[in-house]
Amino acid sequence: MDALEKFRQETRTWLEANCPPSMRTPMTSEDETVWGGRNAKYENPEAKLWLDRMAERGWTAPTWPAAYGGGGLSKDENQILQQELRRIKARPALSSFGIWMLGPALLEFANEEQKKEHLPKIVRGEIRWCQGYSEPGAGSDLAGLQTKCEDKGDHYLVNGQKIWTSYADKADWIFCLVRTDATKKHDGISFLLFDMATPGVEARPISMISGASPFCETFFTDVKVPKGNLVGELNKGWTIAKRLLQHEREMISGMGLGGAGSGAGLGGLEQAAKDYYGEQNGRVASPSLRDHITRQKMDGKAFALTMQRSAEEAKAGQGPGAASSIFKYYGTELNKRRFELLLEIMGTKGLGWEGEGFTGDEITVTRSWLRSKGNSIEGGTSEVQLNVVSKRVLGLPD
């Protein structure tokens, strides 16, 4: 306890001294997110300063081993660091698929050389990564992917197409699932890393129903990849993929709890309803809407309690529990419903695309409403989630 308290004091002092003032203010736009990478531009030099200072201590990846540039913190220490960061309202020094997704996979599955090569650059934000999983013909059936990776003796040759590769047009490297054995399905997939600057790689941004998007279609034409870039065993990539997908699913589930673009700018569902519909005797003027809002709030509360219960069960050593299998499904459906309800509340003010006549908050809700439709598709569709529950949890047969 004393050691932890000491750690808290030191951390607080260090943060006070090293977190630049502008990094303690809320971001005014998503464009201010620091993603790092070879071509990173910093409108605000303090953002770069903040990144470098945090990276130097390894605190962009606080729990990774110091040997690979990480902070080497214990779970408890990291909790304190996060509390102290929140206390001063510090912006994230670095946002990175390398930290969120790839790093943990490398730590578990990569060889020593690969860890030494890639992890420190991720920590320092030098290399920005993207993830090449889905393909046009392999969505829910991800293991049906067809991007071909041939062994050409001294190198691999990659041909194929990926889709939904977030920020592929801005990333430096990609971690990618490829087919190395066409005669098998799950057991013919490998996990490969390569430089997006390699000849034959092309990324095209995808225009979405909600507008511009970070998603790309990415094409590989005779892309040569050094053989040392294979992570784990040949044809055993599915094991790594499953681990990463689980992680992605958990991130998406959290949406049921609200967050960015969830109408927070409007003060929540009930305040929005009072503002856009009016009130009578302190009640939302439309009784049926009031009832719908209550259903939404009740289900949201029940979902939050269930995530909390699951966490408490895990802490009590009772494992993640069956309840966690429904998080992705329920969280995303709940999020979609909330946006449908927000639009119902906002009437014609929730139907603007851009320009005059609508506030920034209103446009954000409308765009987020459209974007939310993807929640129940990406990271495993709701249908796939329900299949998983009925088969693995309920034991219903094929």
Binding site: G347, E356, G357, K373, T381
Partner: protein, 379 residues
Amino acid sequence: MALVLTEEQQLLRDTATQFFQERVPVANLRKLRDTKDADGFDRAVWKEMADLGFAGIMISEKYGGTDFGPVGLGLVLEQSGRTLAASPLVSTVLLCGSAVQLAGNATQRQEILPAIAAGERIMALALEEGPHHNPTRIATRATADGQAFRISGKKTFVLDGHVAGQLIVAARTGGNDNDRTGITLFLVDPKAEGVKITRTLMVDNRNAADIAFDNVAVPSTAVLGSIDGGIDVLEQVLDIARIGLSAEMLGLVQEVFDTTLAYLKERKQFGKVIGSFQALQHRMAVLFAEIELSRSVVLDALSAIEARRNDVPLVASLAKARLSDIATLMTNEGLQMHGGMGMTDQFDVGLFMKRARVAAASFGDGNFHRDRYASLEGY
């Protein structure tokens, strides 16, 4: 009651189907959007629609119309819904044309109706003042000024407001903000001094405008119908628009259903077409049922106008509530079943979802019309 089409009506439907499929496919809407078209609809196409008689479909032959009647108009709107065709049908034909026919004096009819039928006059109804449809919540005031009136107030969500050659403005000549009496309709020149029109860009790429009136002078000849008695005209006109929009949404819903069904038969995952999965099959079968019910409701509402039945308000609310809800449901289900590709702008389903939502919010959504239905039925 007539829930089956006559031969003449079937012919009209076939003409409309062919016209929209060939001349106004969804690609037209994309072009208007991507070129940031100043009008927001294709004037050449509108002229062709007028030539086919669509613009004058509810106008009697005496005034240059084709007088096909409401069922005919519904068929045209349904087909326009299948291709998301942008046109002034709702603003000019359903709303303003109906208002002039119902309330206009001989001079006004003679001046306006032939121009509408010929496709030469675009009109817009300036009614709403808040984010939710409410025909009696009118704070815009028209103050008598000798023989003339002075109008001041702010209107929003005026369909085709920025391209209209003539406006019909609902303003208060008496009573308080939520009173049924005291509302008067005025014909107003959008170029008159004190009128400020701001086009808003809606999610469905259709036209709507915010319009501010600052002490705008209008002569007494501009009054449409009786002074203080505008609500009766408005309600009839709005019911026509609600039923017309329901017909448009019926086409939209049917199109998304058909497209989704085709996709389910074609898209493969796990080695089989996804349409072979029973969970999706049952959802599609339920949607099929809902659409069949929706078709009956729309046909009945159209024939209620045609037969001047006294239950028009009731069936208008039934149709608008049901189609608003089903359009939301079908576009959501359609998008989900299209998977990731449905999220791309390359596929059309997102465009249908956007239009569905705007049509649902226009002139009363499900909440509004269920409440109205219950009140009309006395409970």
